[in-house]
């Protein structure tokens, strides 16, 4: 992919050598191709357009470097700007040693919330914390059973009530239970919901205000297309997200949703899911993601 991008760019950037400087005119064709690559990678249309404007502003006036081909120089600038956009990195869960830390997962249906709860619990346990999982998805058939199974696999306790109950109450009760059970990190697994489902979004806001989580993470499927901006913005408006976790990056998606989501929420992408197994959670690296989106 990098080959095809640079090959296209070489042809598009022939005017550059003579001018000695990058100008709006001599990089226009090249950036058109970069923009196309971003759209093919699922970066949202307006986000891609703004990004190209920013790169143009950044690049214009730069001296043409003798050490690099112009296409390499331009891709280099694009790459750096992508890294800047998706950074800075922050992999911290901001845990305190005193009291009980509360982490809440939210997101669309099937994004990977329950699995990610398991992954986080595993990581926390390995780091010496005492996690408790709270099964607040009272909606999807066997969602509680799913979390309980993960808890068993990890030997991490799960607080659950009978299905069909009130998720807000479950979260409150789960938190109370954490105190008696000696847990110091509580992870709330909420039901998947659409950002346009007012009733379910209100329910999420109620959980948010009743248990006051320290960290609220949006779990987002890396294969998401143009709609990523809408859903991420709605969850951020409702909850003030603290981070994003990008799942299913073990696929072959270019993952442009990472840019869209970062752009509209402004919160750090903390981790990426690299598989279904519970040990497949990795810190997010903007530079790798930038390379992936550009097909490098």
């Amino acid at each position: 992919m990098f080959e095809s991008i640079t090959q296209g760019l070489q042809g598009a950037l022939t005017g550059i050598f003579r001018s000695g400087k990058l100008t709006e005119a001599n990089i226009r064709e090249g950036l058109k191709q970069v923009r196309q690559a971003l759209l093919e990678a699922d970066v949202e249309y307006n986000v891609a357009t703004q990004f190209i404007e920013k790169v143009t502003a950044e690049a214009v006036g730069e001296k043409v470097l003798k050490s690099l081909r112009p296409d390499e120089q331009l891709i280099g600038i694009v790459h750096q700007q992508l890294i800047a956009l998706m950074g800075p990195t922050d992999h911290s869960l901001h845990l305190r040693r005193d009291g009980i830390n509360k982490i809440m997962m939210c997101g669309l249906q099937g994004a990977g919330k329950t699995t990610t709860c398991g992954k986080l619990a595993r990581k926390l346990k390995a780091d010496g914390w005492k996690p408790l999982l709270v099964a607040a998805d009272m909606q999807r058939p066997a969602a509680i059973e799913q979390l309980k199974t993960l808890g068993q696999q990890l030997d991490v306790p799960v607080y659950a009530e009978a299905p069909g109950g009130n998720p807000v109450a479950v979260c409150k009760n789960g938190l109370a239970h954490a105190k008696t059970a000696g847990a110091n990190v509580v992870i709330f697994d909420t039901a998947g919901r659409l950002h346009v489902d007012d009733r379910l979004m209100f329910e999420l806001e109620q959980i948010d205000s009743r248990v006051q989580p320290d960290q609220v993470y949006l779990v987002c499927d890396a294969m998401t297309g143009q709609d990523a901006v809408r859903s991420a913005k709605a969850f951020n408006d409702a909850l003030e997200l603290d981070g994003v976790i990008l799942t299913k990056l073990d696929g072959d998606t270019r993952g442009g949703a990472a840019i869209s989501v970062k752009q509209v929420t402004g919160v750090p992408i903390k981790f990426v899911g690299m598989g279904e197994q519970l040990d497949r959670l990795e810190p997010f690296h903007p530079d790798r993601m930038a390379g992936r989106i550009l097909g490098m």
């Binding site: 196309q36 759209l39 093919e40 990678a41 699922d42 949202e44 249309y45 307006n46 669309l108 249906q109 099937g110 994004a111 990977g112 329950t114 398991g118 909606q139 999807r140 058939p141 066997a142 969602a143 059973e145 799913q146 979390l147 309980k148 199974t149 993960l150 696999q153 659409l194 950002h195 346009v196 499927d221 294969m223 998401t224 297309g225 143009q226 709609d227 990523a228 809408r230 859903s231 299913k248 073990d250 696929g251 072959d252 998606t253 270019r254 442009g256 949703a257 279904e276």
Partner: protein, 287 residues
């Protein structure tokens, strides 16, 4: 409103809205350059141009195949076998809505007087068997299950056996979510299909791929890989009740000829609709 002169600015607006449906750069570029060639600099009504674009998309979606789309006939998109049972294999990447869609399909079939047997072929994901079992209880239909960790081909085998024995009309087989670039898991799926075909000639009669409507361009890779492994006969586009338009289905139809058969519009048992290309194309570009 009387006409305006079509400018590059207008074309950009077309481009934006086309891209935002997720139909992809290739399909978008084709449509926009057709518009550019035919109408740039001419006086015209933008609404009318949108009508042409919608018509183009509709004809892509209808394709040349014989698939019928009759909303009054909820089973019209499905291929039925002459002899019992008709076997439907359901596959797709993780979390798209396969298991839920199977419950909805079963509901549609039973409401039309068909008897249905389910096979819980996802023996991998935590509580996947329990999930489908709960649905079968709600539906009041039988289900074949094996313990977690069992070879899914063995579940498919047992499902076929039970379906033949019981003489049910339709057997629907669930499979674990898998990413299409994972060779071993795709081979596992091929094996499931082989086992089904050995047991019941011509089966599976439908090999359905469930694609999440929020999916971007990766949907094309999914369709290609699943098609190769299990000869996909149709798509079900799930989660169309959100704000995603599901335009990747247009690209899949255009490039691979795979028709959309149903759309999922909610988490409930009745939230499955026969795909309607006209309605879909209207919604694709709705403001």
């Amino acid at each position: 409103k009387s006409g305006e002169i079509l400018s590059e600015k207008h074309l950009e607006q077309f481009e934006a809205r086309l891209i935002q449906t997720d139909m992809g750069v290739a399909a978008t570029t084709r449509i926009v350059s057709d518009l550019r060639q035919e109408h740039l600099g001419r006086t015209m009504k933008v609404d009318e141009l949108w009508a042409t674009v919608r018509a183009t998309v509709k004809s892509i979606l209808k394709g040349t195949s014989t698939t019928t789309y009759d909303p009054e006939q909820p089973l019209s998109p499905l291929n039925f076998s002459e002899s019992r049972p008709t076997v439907i294999l359901v596959a797709g990447v993780n979390g798209t809505g396969k298991t839920t869609t199977i419950a909805k399909l079963a509901r549609l079939l039973t409401s039309q007087g068909k008897t249905v047997l389910l096979a819980a072929g996802d023996t991998f994901r935590a509580a996947a068997v329990e999930q489908l079992t709960l649905w079968s209880q709600r539906l009041g239909c039988d289900i074949v299950t094996k313990p977690a960790g069992t070879d899914p081909a063995a579940v498919a085998f047992a499902g076929c056996e039970a379906a033949v024995k019981a003489g049910v009309d339709v057997l629907i087989i669930d499979t674990a979510g898998r990413l299409h670039n994972q060779q071993n898991l795709m081979q596992e799926l091929e094996k499931i299909r082989r086992v089904i075909g050995k047991q019941i000639p011509e089966a599976p009669h439908e090999s359905l791929l469930v694609i999440d409507a929020t999916t971007g361009q990766n949907g094309l890779n999914q369709a290609q890989a699943f098609s190769k492994a299990v000869s996909t006969t149709g798509l079900i586009l799930s989660k169309l009740d959100g704000t995603a338009r599901g335009g990747v289905a247009v690209a899949i139809r255009q490039q691979m000829g795979i028709p959309v058969k149903y759309v999922g519009v909610g988490e409930g048992i009745d939230d499955l609709e026969v795909f309607d290309p006209d309605q879909f194309a209207e919604a694709l570009f709705a403001e």
